[in-house]
Subunit: 523 residues, 2 copies
């Protein structure tokens, strides 16, 4: 639900089509409610166009609209509590009064999960920014849900810990929103999902009850792990007010290498080999197809390889290692890459190894470039991270953030291209490119269809084709962005009727009046 | 719920006190039911003392009694389905008929969760042993829930993968039982809990519906993560029939070192330093107090250190590293330990390093012994793993498997000892030792009180004292063994009323008739 680095600068308008509010009617916030909120909160924590607050509408704009300016709510009132008790009292009141609530974190989501559909009350967690505790021995940090992800990272840095997740939106997104959306991001391959690293939560339930499961235990086998339900529930089951999370020891060095592969089929054997060899120091394995690489270069994202190297390559892989000391990483990696690489250059240190790198009988790669400085490290990442921007400069992009088995990545891209070709749409004035890139290590493919313009023909060719394709792999229509309001209609492509039925019952159990973020996740 | 290596050979009899069956009455299995089961299953899959099967009672003994011979059921019937469809049909029938079911895996639990309380039907998963798929690229394996953990490990080994969990009971325990009990074990520090590594489940719900969430995706953000509820539910919400789990790349080498610490207070700084320095190659950090070490040596578990080294030590720490190549591990570890160690010997290779090891200004350890061979590696582990056996040879042990903040380990042991002293019970004919050992890395303390005999006085001094102590740290009364039937009465010491209330509602939602493993987890 949150923007990974540079992901989806602009989304196709067609996605807005499912905006109809299918929930029961809720009561609007009235002046009577404002009077009650004034008993709960200081004046500075209330924004409302209603009397006696009478905030100018424009001041609510950043809360009513998402950062892409794609989803637009009409809420009259934003409350910004500072404590769990205040949240609890607000929610209790709203539950009694039948007022719908949208919990809002950093408002950096991509699927409209954090903004109102109509005039729901916005409960912003931005004022809840206390770090409640940190244990430098275990690495467990407990924080208010409104803490900015980057602020937590900065807090941990002097203690030699890092947050187990990292996102492009880290400067704005909040840890409570991260947990509510089960944010994936750039460290998932290495540190796993939040279902593993979140140890405890404090949640205000839809009736105002505070559920305190804010333990700081790595192991606790005492019954159902209820907190897991709130991880990825996008605020529909309650409002997360506190998070206990296991930070990871900071790696002492990171390195990366960009590899050019002669053919797509080599990605999987290479991934397997890299994973086997690098084991625990492998922290990213991102792939980029030829066209995506060229678009990144064309639109000014720099280049890692010379023309000759690129010429013979069908796709590229960016491998990152983290951990241990720099010398060690390089030494180990280079030793291990000697069967994989023909050329690995740019450093005098590595010259001695180049001969051995030529020894492979059936090289999986044509060439590779190893970063030798933090600047080069960033430069290699810029190519991968710049693809989204490059794609958006190239045309109108239909973007699919899907999880499918790694072995089916190429097939999914090929089938989509074939589908468009069979419809006569693969031509310069319709679909210009079908590109694939993404987190191979996570099974997360970013499938982008770059068109001259958004057209009903292309959309009809792509949907439900892509969703059906995803379903045929038992894949996920949303690997990391969530459902929000954007994909509720597409949920059945990933979740079977039994699963959706159970989700609905869980929703009804926690939120019988349906006041909590209505119209999100479930239609 | 499962036995970690050598854990709890014998449990105090007092734990049996809460055996009253507090659930509503269920219907016994009748000959009419047997006739129905014969339509669902082949004759070889049915054991029953009822006609026309008429199995001798003795043949049901291994299913009716747990491996410790502590919990005893009186079931007439054991069904051993081979497929999910068979499980589904059995459960549907039992739900209609009001017959209670105990799902049973390898029956290696420690808290009586897998055996009947009365005459519940036993549904054994032992015949469901197919490995459904394995993807060597992603490392994701999908298997029937009855697969033995060790069999899965052996299947993965040639592919250079390992299961993300390991237990002493691995030769008997089943993956479905592991997941149902959220088994911890020996790899948790390194690979995290099953909430992170289990990617999908297939579950037969209490009404017979098959919930298929058996995806093989690392990332799937499409609504509530329902499968998490079954991880650790101990079979009370449904029967796990299939598991999709992320295997870990096999480390290429493991090493360990036994360190002697002059004082207990050094454990935490040492842990922090080791964690910081070894980072991702640290795979275990186990601590053993002086008395526990001596008991292990006394009862024939070998010794790592000479008398002089032991003399000045208040406690010991066993550090294990895994990953990378052996040379690398040792080199890195030794470089990094030079500030920690005064003596680190036994190998010519290391002689050159010994001088630098003496350099520390304020050494955290007195001495250390590094394993130099697989035999020595096992020998060091034997000391740690042998404590339980040694303790049981020394006397009657009151054993507590608790999670508390690492910083409070020493305090918990001290307070317990002080409690016993204040009651006049710390004497040779009452409580002989209060020892602490366990997984520092996981926050899991094994607190053992070794007595001459089980007595009401000692028990009254310990309970609810220890549970209250755990609660005061916001700890867990069961770090890894689960609740089963043994600790249902103690659940409120770890879970607050709101959490227990939600657990009860979740139970009622999935299992309104309460037929699924009644009397377990919730009273």
């Amino acid at each position: 639900m949150f923007a990974a680095r540079n992901v989806v600068r602009r989304l196709p308008q067609r996605s807005i089509r499912r905006w109809a509010h299918t929930q029961p009617t809720f009561n609007p916030v009235t002046e009577q409610d404002i009077a009650r909120f004034q008993q709960i909160l200081p004046a500075s924590s209330i924004l409302s166009t209603l009397a006696p607050i009478s905030t100018p509408v424009a001041e609510l704009s950043n809360f009513n609209n998402d950062w892409m300016n794609k989803y637009h709510g009409k809420s009259t009132t934003v409350l910004r509590p500072c404590t769990t008790k205040e949240v609890s009292e607000i929610v209790r009141w709203c539950n009694e009064r039948g007022i719908a609530i949208v919990p809002q974190g950093g408002n950096t989501g991509l699927v409209g999960g954090g903004v109102p559909i109509k005039d729901e009350l916005i409960l912003s967690l931005g004022n809840m920014t206390k770090i409640r505790s940190f244990d430098p021995v275990s690495g467990i940090i407990v924080a208010d849900s409104g803490c900015i992800l980057e602020a937590l990272s900065e807090y941990l840095a002097p203690h030699n810990y890092i947050m187990p997740l990292d996102l492009g939106a880290k400067g704005s997104c909040q840890i409570g929103g991260n947990v509510s959306t089960n944010a994936g991001g750039l460290r998932l391959l290495r540190y796993g999902s939040l279902h593993g690293s979140v140890l405890g939560l404090e949640v205000v339930l839809p009736d105002g009850t505070v559920l305190d499961q804010l333990t700081t235990l790595r192991k606790d086998n005492t019954g159902y792990d209820i907190k897991q339900l709130f991880i990825g529930a996008e605020g529909t089951l309650g409002i997360i007010t506190g998070v206990s999370i296991l930070a990871a020891p900071a790696p002492q060095a990171s390195s990366n290498v960009m590899l050019a592969l002669p053919k797509y089929e080599n990605v999987l054997p290479l991934f397997r080999e890299v994973k086997r060899q690098l084991s625990e120091i492998l922290s990213a394995f991102e792939f980029i197809d030829r066209r995506a690489y060229e678009l990144a270069v064309k639109h000014g994202q720099g280049r890692a390889l010379n023309d000759e190297d690129v010429e013979g390559a069908e796709c590229f892989v960016l491998v990152e290692t983290s951990g241990g000391k720099r010398e060690h990483d390089e030494e180990v990696r280079l030793k291990r890459f000697r069967l994989l690489c023909n050329i690995l250059t740019r450093t005098q240190k590595l010259n001695g190894l180049l001969e051995s790198l030529m020894e492979a009988d059936e090289p999986l790669i044509n060439t590779g470039v190893l970063s030798q400085s933090p600047a080069q490290f960033s430069q290699l990442w810029a190519i991968r991270e710049g693809i989204t921007e490059a794609v958006s400069k190239e045309g109108k992009a239909y973007k699919y953030d899907i999880s499918i088995p790694v072995a089916s990545f190429k097939e999914a891209v090929d089938k989509t291209r074939e589908q468009l070709r069979s419809k006569g749409l693969l031509r310069d004035d319709a679909v210009k490119h079908v590109v694939g890139y993404g987190h191979v290590g996570d099974g997360n493919l970013h499938l982008n269809v770059v068109a001259a313009a958004y057209t009903p023909e292309i959309e009809a060719a792509l949907e439900p084709f892509v969703y059906e394709l995803v379903a045929s792999y038992k894949g996920s229509i949303s690997a990391e962005h969530g459902i929000g309001v954007m994909k509720t209609h597409a949920l059945p492509y990933t979740k079977n009727p039994t699963s959706i039925e159970i989700m609905k019952r869980i929703k009804a159990l926690f939120d019988p009046k349906g006041i909590m973020n209505p119209g999100k996740v479930l239609e």
